[in-house]
């Protein structure tokens, strides 16, 4: 069953028909996603089945993110830009419909591929994800995400890892 991804288009995608296991993530898509896109706060991407393009299988959001470093020991810092603020991409939300189990990993893969494709322009060095609970944390760890800092709910994957995935020889 072929799937496709598109930027959220409230004229074509049936947001009210979407329901995932998190009330907050369901409500975000229905009430907030379009406003955030208008304000350039976060872009929402929709997963659909080609056969039924108005029905939403799942969605995720991407936005710009910054990782601020503490002063670094001299050795690794020499090989990085001097300023200690590094650009990254935030995968802020990811949710699939209750009716489409098993599609979460496809949503994540599209997010990685899209973030990687955009990284050339924005200089993003890593994708950062916000895990809303233990289950989500396990989901990201499985795909190689590592803990970001001490907060516990933010994880990251370097763009270079995605590069190896997409172009293994490069």
């Amino acid at each position: 069953m072929p799937y496709r991804f598109e930027p959220l288009d409230s004229a074509r995608h049936d947001r009210t028909g979407f329901c995932c296991t998190s009330a907050a993530l369901t409500a975000y898509l229905q009430k907030q996603a379009r406003k955030d896109a208008e304000r350039h706060l976060a872009a929402t991407f929709i997963m659909i089945e080609e056969a039924d393009p108005s029905r939403i299988v799942g969605y995720y959001t991407l936005s710009n993110y910054t990782v601020e470093l503490a002063e670094l020991p001299a050795e690794p810092a020499r090989r990085l830009p001097r300023y200690p603020r590094l650009p990254a991409t935030l995968l802020g939300r990811l949710a699939r419909s209750k009716d489409f189990p098993g599609t979460g990993q496809l949503l994540l893969m599209d997010a990685l591929a899209r973030a990687y494709a955009q990284a050339g322009g924005s200089g993003s060095l890593a994708i950062v994800a916000e895990a809303k609970d233990e289950w989500a944390l396990g989901f990201y760890h499985k795909y190689g995400f590592q803990q970001l800092g001490a907060e516990g709910n933010r994880v990251f994957l370097p763009m270079k890892v995605i590069g190896r995935l997409i172009a293994p020889s490069g």
């Binding site: 496709r4 710009n64 910054t66 503490a70 670094l72 690794p76 496809l106 499985k142």
Partner: protein, 105 residues
């Protein structure tokens, strides 16, 4: 009153007429006196303009904070190390990506 109109990219449709709404809060009288004093001291013509500006600054900071992680020294070193010497994609990542290539157009 600070300009709250959102920025639009060049060529975007003209902004809709800015809508407004009321925000009310009961606060202790003593706090209101302090706020009145502060708004005078900071040169605001009204308590409302002081409150709106202060709230807007605070709200923008809160949004900004949620878009930034500050790492301590050891965490920074770990992060930089991971960027400089990226691990190979995990088996689960490779399988998921193969499925993605197969099922997504």
């Amino acid at each position: 009153m600070p300009n709250l109109a959102r920025k639009l990219p060049a060529g975007a449709a003209p902004a809709r007429k800015r809508s407004t709404t009321r925000l009310e809060a009961r606060i202790p009288s003593a706090l209101k006196e302090i706020i009145e004093e502060a708004s005078k001291l900071t040169g605001h013509s009204s308590v409302t303009s002081y409150i709106v500006q202060t709230l807007q600054e605070s709200a923008s900071r809160a949004v900004q904070e949620s878009r930034l992680s500050r790492l301590a020294a050891a965490e920074s070193a770990d992060f930089v190390q991971a960027l400089l010497t990226p691990a190979a994609p995990t088996q689960a990542l490779q399988s998921a990506f193969a499925r993605y290539r197969d099922q997504v157009r």
